[in-house]
C-alpha cells in the first residue's frame, strides 16, 4: 500500500509533470523531424498514432488528473489552477473521443454523378474476389513491415509492406527463344544517365518500348535486326511466326490514286496486300467491298520513313539500328566483347548493354524501405505491397500485389482478383456536384479560390455552396472544400471534399475555453505570484 501511495504522490508532483512535459516535447520534436524526412503518412504511423505516443499522452493525462486531485479540497487562491487543469483534462478526453469515434475521410465528386462513399484518408483494405468468395480485409496501420499470415481458402496473405520500393530481379522462364528475350541498357551522356529495362516476354511487367524525352526506344525480336540494317527499301517486312526477316526483293511498293503507299508481297507462295498508313497487318477486300485487316496474319510491315525525322532507336537485344541523318542511311551496330559501348548520333549519348537474357525475364520485387520525402513528394517508399501465396493443385506460388495496381490470377477453379482500396463508408444520402469553379488571381496561374455547388439528395433535395472557410454541415457530418483534380481522360474537374465527424468537438471547445480563462486568471489576474518568494542562490 505504501509504495502505491508513494507512486501516487510522485505522479501528482510537479516534478513528474516537468518530466512528462519534457518527454512529450521531445517526442514531438522527433515527430516533426520524422515527418520532414519521411513524410506525413510515415510520421502518423510511426509517431503520432503509435502506442508509445498514446502512452505518453495518457501519462500526461494521469499527471494532470492526480495533480488536480492532490490540490483538493478547494482552495481559493488556486481557482485559476483548477479551471486551467480541468480545461486540459477536457481537451484530452475530447481528443480521445475524436480519435476513437470520429471520422476523417474524403469524398471525390464527379460532375452530375451521385456520390455516396467516403474514403478513409489513412486506412487501406484489401479486396479479394474468387469464384466462391469475396472478402475485404483491413491492412495493418503500421510504419514497418507486418506479417499477416491469414489463410482464406487457397490464398494466404503474407507480409504487408506499407512503404516499399521495387527492385529489379531476373526470373527463369521455360519459353526461351529469340522472340522472348529481355535486356537492360544504360543510356548515358555527360548530363544524363538512365537504366532502361525492356522485355518481350508476355508475363513481364516491362514494356517493349520507352520514351525518354525526344528519344523513342523500340524493342524488337532479335531476328528482325537483319531487316533494319539493310538500306534496300524503306519498307521492312517480317514473319513474326518464323522470326524471320523477309527479303525486300519479294515485295514491291506502288502508290494508290490517293497518295497512300500500297505494298504487294509474294512470300511463301501467298500474295498479300499492305497499306502501311492503315495497319502493319495485311488487308483484303471483303465481299461487301470493304477493306478488312487480317488480324491473324503473322506478317508485319513497317514503313521506316516514319522513323527518320525524329530520334528513334531500334533495339534487338545485342544489336541496335537507327537512321543516321548525316549519311541518310540506316545503320546497324552490335555489342560484342570488344564493343561495350555504342555511340549514338544524338547529344553525345552512349548506349551500354548491361543484361541480356533469352531464358529469364525481369520482374519488380517490392522491398521495404523507410520512405523519403522531397518537396512534399515521396521519392522512396511510395509503393504499398502485399505478398500473397496461392496454393493450387499442390504447388505454392507467391505473388506481389502492389499499390493500386490490381492483381489477377487464373487458377484451376477460375479467376482470383486482388486490389487495395481506401477504407470506405456509405453515407445515408447522396451528393451531386452541379458545378465546380476555380478562380485565379488576375493575370496569374495561382488559385484564388475554389468552390463547389452541390445538390444533396436525402428524400428531398437541397442545394449547397461549399468553398474555403464555408463548409456544408449536414447530419453531424461536415464537408469542407479541400482539393480538386482534373480527370485526364474526360477533362472534367472533380471536386475533393474532406468529410468530418468529430464527436469530441464540444469537449475540446469547452476545454479550450476553460484552459484560456484559467490560465488568464492564474497568470495575469492573480496578484500574488506563488512561487516567487525569493530563494537565495
Amino acid at each position: 500500500m505504501k509504495t502505491l501511495q508513494k507512486i501516487e504522490r510522485f505522479i501528482g508532483q510537479v516534478k513528474f509533470a516537468v518530466i512528462i512535459i519534457l518527454v512529450f516535447a521531445i517526442y514531438l520534436i522527433y515527430g516533426t523531424f520524422q515527418e520532414s524526412y519521411h513524410g506525413a503518412e510515415y510520421a502518423n504511423r510511426a509517431v503520432y498514432k503509435s502506442i508509445g505516443f498514446m502512452l505518453v499522452q495518457f501519462l500526461m493525462f494521469i499527471s494532470i488528473f492526480t495533480a488536480t486531485l492532490f490540490r483538493l479540497p478547494f482552495k481559493k487562491n488556486l481557482r485559476g489552477f483548477y479551471v486551467l487543469h480541468l480545461g486540459l483534462l477536457l481537451l484530452f478526453i475530447g481528443s480521445f473521443v475524436s480519435y476513437h469515434a470520429g471520422i476523417d475521410s474524403s469524398i471525390l465528386l464527379s460532375p452530375n454523378t451521385p456520390s455516396q462513399h467516403i474514403l478513409s484518408q489513412q486506412e487501406d483494405e484489401l479486396v479479394f474476389t474468387s469464384p466462391t468468395k469475396q472478402a475485404t480485409i483491413p491492412m495493418p496501420f503500421s510504419a514497418s513491415k507486418k506479417m499477416i499470415n491469414q489463410t482464406i481458402g487457397k490464398v494466404t496473405l503474407k507480409e504487408y509492406l506499407p512503404f516499399a520500393d521495387e527492385k529489379l530481379e531476373w526470373v527463369d522462364h521455360d519459353a526461351a527463344n529469340s522472340s522472348n528475350h529481355s535486356s537492360t541498357y544504360l543510356l548515358v551522356n555527360k548530363m544524363f544517365s538512365e537504366k532502361i529495362t525492356l522485355s518481350l516476354y508476355r508475363k513481364s511487367e516491362f514494356e517493349a518500348g520507352a520514351n525518354l524525352g525526344p528519344l523513342s526506344l523500340h524493342y524488337l525480336p532479335s531476328g528482325f535486326f537483319e531487316c533494319f540494317k539493310k538500306n534496300t527499301s524503306t519498307f521492312v517486312l517480317w514473319d513474326s511466326a518464323k522470326q524471320a526477316c523477309i527479303d525486300s526483293a519479294t515485295f514491291q511498293s506502288s502508290k494508290a490514286p490517293n497518295g497512300m503507299d500500297v505494298i504487294k508481297s509474294n512470300y511463301a507462295q501467298a500474295e498479300e496486300i499492305f497499306i502501311p498508313r492503315l495497319s502493319p497487318l495485311p488487308v483484303y477486300i471483303s465481299e461487301e467491298k470493304k477493306l478488312v485487316i487480317k488480324q491473324e496474319s503473322p506478317l508485319r510491315l513497317l514503313n521506316r520513313a516514319a522513323f527518320q525525322d525524329k530520334p528513334h532507336l531500334f533495339l534487338f537485344g545485342k544489336n541496335i539500328a537507327y537512321f543516321d541523318r548525316d549519311t541518310e542511311k540506316w545503320i546497324g551496330q552490335s555489342f560484342d566483347k570488344e564493343k561495350k559501348f555504342i555511340e549514338l548520333p544524338w547529344m553525345g549519348f552512349q548506349l551500354e548493354l548491361k543484361n541480356h537474357y533469352e531464358n529469364k525475364y525481369p520482374i519488380l520485387v517490392p522491398h521495404y524501405v523507410t520512405p523519403i520525402q522531397d518537396n512534399n513528394k515521396l521519392i522512396a517508399g511510395a509503393t504499398k505491397a502485399l505478398k500473397i501465396e496461392i496454393n493450387d493443385k499442390g504447388s505454392t506460388k507467391s505473388h506481389w500485389l502492389k499499390s493500386f495496381k490490381p492483381l489477377k490470377i487464373n487458377l484451376s477453379d477460375g479467376e482470383y482478383n486482388f486490389y487495395f482500396k481506401s477504407k470506405s463508408k456509405k453515407l445515408p444520402f447522396q451528393l451531386i456536384l452541379d458545378k465546380f469553379r476555380a478562380q485565379k488571381d488576375p493575370g496569374t496561374n495561382r488559385d484564388a479560390s475554389y468552390e463547389s455547388f452541390v445538390t444533396l439528395v436525402d428524400g428531398d433535395t437541397s442545394k449547397h455552396h461549399i468553398y474555403m472557410n464555408n463548409p456544408l454541415k449536414y447530419k453531424d457530418l461536415t464537408f469542407y472544400q479541400s482539393t480538386f483534380q482534373k480527370n485526364p481522360k474526360t477533362g472534367e474537374t472533380l471536386s475533393g471534399l474532406t468529410v468530418n465527424f468529430d464527436p469530441g468537438r464540444w469537449l475540446k471547445y469547452l476545454g479550450s475555453l476553460l484552459l484560456v480563462l484559467g490560465s488568464f486568471y492564474h497568470f495575469v489576474l492573480r496578484r500574488k505570484i506563488v512561487s516567487l518568494k525569493g530563494k537565495s542562490l
Binding site: 485565379k440 469542407y480 484552459l515 484560456v516
Partner: protein, 485 residues
Amino acid sequence: MKFLAIILFSLFSHANSLCDQDIDKIPVLSQGRIKPFSVFALETMKFLTPEKKPLGMSRVKATCLLALNVFNQGQHLDVPLRVEYIDAKELLKMDTSKTSLVFSELEGQEMEIRSAWAGIKENNSYKKELNKISSRMNLFQSLKNGSLFSVIDTNGKWFELKDLDFETFKGHFIENEQIGNAHILEHYLFMYHPFSIAILFIIFAIFALSILKKPNLGIFLSIIALAIQVLTIGLRVYISGRAPITNMYETVMFSGFGAALIALILTIVKKDKIFLLAGISYNILCLFMMNFANNMLEPSISPLVPVLRDNFWLSTHVTTIILSYAALAISWILANIFILKRRLGIKVESPLRQTKIIYQCVQIGVVMLAAGIILGGIWADYSWGRFWGWDPKETWSLIALLIYMAILHGKYSSWINNKNFIPMIAAAFMSIIMAWFGVNYILASGLHSYGFSEGGAIFIGSLFLVQTIIIVLYYLPHKSPQNLK
C-alpha cells in the same frame, strides 16, 4: 564599347522619352495585384539583377525601356541577370567573383542549363538555382514580349501590352485615380523607407535609456518610433486590405512593433524602464532584419493562398500568436541582457528581481501562446474540419508552449532556481524561433531537400550558435560575484 553604347543610348533616348517621364505612380496589374509601376519595376528588377542601377539607369527606366520592346520601341537592354550559386557559375564558365551574367550570354547557354538541371536527381540548392535562372530568363522575356503586366483603359478593363499598339498603350499608360489611391500610397511606402526613420528614433531612445539615463526622453522617443510604425503598418493594411501578418516579413514587422508596444505598456504600468529597453532592442533587431535580410524576408505584397483569405481568423489567430512571440521575445532579450551584464561585471539587479521581471513577460507570452494555439485549432476545425492534425507548424508551436510550461513547472517545484531560470528562458526562445522560422526554412521543404544551406537555415543556425555561446558564458566561472548577492 561603353562610348558607343552612350552614343546609341542618346540617339534612342528621344524615341523613349516616355520612360523619362514621371511614370512611377501609373497603376499596372501584375502577379494578381494592382500596383504602381515603380513597385512593379522594383520587384521585377530585384528578382532579375543584383544591380541597383541596371546598365546605369534607374530600375523604373530600365523596366520601361524593356517593356516597350513589344512595340519595337524602347531598347534591347542586355541586363545582367542574377547567378548566385557557385556550381551554376562554373557551369556558365563565369568569373566566380561576379554575381550576374548578361541575358544574351545566358540565352546562348540555355541548353547547358536545361540539361544540367535534368541531370540533377536531388532537389538541391544547385538545382533550385538553375531553376531560378530559367525563371529569371522567362520573366525577362515576358517583360520584353509584353505579357508580364497589364495597363488599364478608361473603362476599367486591363490589357496586356502584347494586345495593344503603341499609341493605345500610351493612352492607357497614365496615372489613374479611378481605381482608388492604394497604388499611389504603395509607391510612397516602397520608395521612402519610413522604417529607417523609426530605426533612428529607436537608436536615440536606447541611447537615452541606457547611457543618458533619461527614462522620460527614452519613452518619448520610443513613442515617436512606435507612431511611425503604426502609420506604416496601417498604410500596409490599407493597401493590402488585410491584417499585416501574412508572410515572414510581416510577422517580423508586427512582432517587433508588438514587443515595443507591450514593453511600453509594461514600463508605464510597472514603472521599470528595463522592459522598454528590451522591447525596443528587439524592435530594432526586427527592423534591421527587414532592411537587410531581403533574401529571407520578402517585403513585397502578394496575393494570399485561398485558405488564408479570412480576415477574422487571420487577424485573431495570427495576431495572438505573433504578440505572444513578441512578449516572449522581450523575456528573451531581458534574459540575454542580464546574462551579458553579469558576465561583463556591470552592476545588476538581484537574481530574484531579474526573475520577477522576466517572469512577467513570460506569463503574458505563455497565456497568449496557449490562446493563439487554441484559436488556430478552432480555425483549422472551422476550415479543414480538424482541430489538430500534427502539422509541423502547429506541432512546433505546441512544443514551444510545452518547453515554457516545463520551465514554469520546474520553477514551481523548485527544481529550477532563479540562477538557472534566466539562461533557460533565453534558450527556450529558440523553440519559438524554430516554430516561427525553422518550420518554414528547415522542415517545410523536407529535410531531404538540403534546405540547410539556404538563407533562412543559416540565420537560424547562427542564432542558435550565438545563444549557446552566451549561455555557456553565463556558466563559466567569472570575476564579479559580489553584486549577485
